[in-house]
């Protein structure tokens, strides 16, 4: 849940659009209160436009499906409550920092991949679309090319254009 909230913030959707609450079967009034409060909060946030957030949403989904994030999430209790193979316990705050770092990286990569899925583009164009510095975009492009997820397709004069390959 923490990972999803963090990603919603990263994607510019905001964690306020999601809420987790615990209600028992006997607490009808509590449910009503939660729903009313959440409904008012959502109303203040205004309408959500899925078309505008198409690329970020797809990137969020891809990030959560990535092996790296799934592994980290699956290991959270093992690492923070028990210990790793070297008998080291990871401080929960440190784990959180690591998780956030991994999420940010995977999200950047997913954003680049989502954009080039739409057709061949220059690094400059990709950078402009997602607001990521050009060196960073190039870095992710080379990573994606190494894993066979992206390739060069066409040139603008001598500058290569990149496109996503079907998985």
């Amino acid at each position: 849940m923490e990972a999803v909230e963090y990603l919603l913030d990263l994607a510019g959707i905001g964690r306020k659009r999601m809420k987790l609450c615990w209600v028992s079967a006997a607490e009808g009034q509590l449910f009503v209160d939660y729903v009313t409060q959440f409904s008012e909060q959502t109303q203040e946030l205004g309408p959500f436009s899925p078309d505008e957030f198409k690329v970020p949403l797809a990137a969020v989904e891809q990030t959560l499906d990535s092996p790296r994030i799934r592994w980290l999430l699956g290991m959270s209790r093992q690492l923070t409550e028990r210990e790793n193979v070297y008998h080291e316990k990871v401080d929960p705050e440190e784990y959180k920092g690591l998780l956030h770092e991994a999420i940010e990286e995977e999200y950047e990569k997913a954003m680049v991949l989502e954009v080039i899925k739409e057709g061949p583009q220059l690094v400059r164009e990709i950078s402009g679309r997602i607001g990521l510095p050009k060196p960073r975009v190039s870095f992710w492009i080379s990573q994606l090319r190494n894993t066979g997820q992206a390739a060069i397709e066409g040139y603008d004069k001598t500058t290569p254009k990149f496109v996503a390959l079907a998985a």
């Binding site: 659009r17 809420k19 609450c21 028992s24 009808g28 009034q29 959500f48």
Partner: protein
Amino acid sequence: MSEEYEPTIIAFCCNWCAYSAADLAGVSRMEYPANVRIIRLMCTGRVNPNFILKAFERGADGVLVSG
């Protein structure tokens, strides 16, 4: 916007907890916003993050997970 904006909220509810609570709220005639669409699950543990994202993709303004 001509009329007041009504958000669409998707609520994932556990059959045994929140769904029963919602049922109870209905039976005891408590009033709550009508813009909530409840999806009943056997357990909130069934909720995959993708459910939440899909809800946003299909035009939900907010997602409530309740169990």
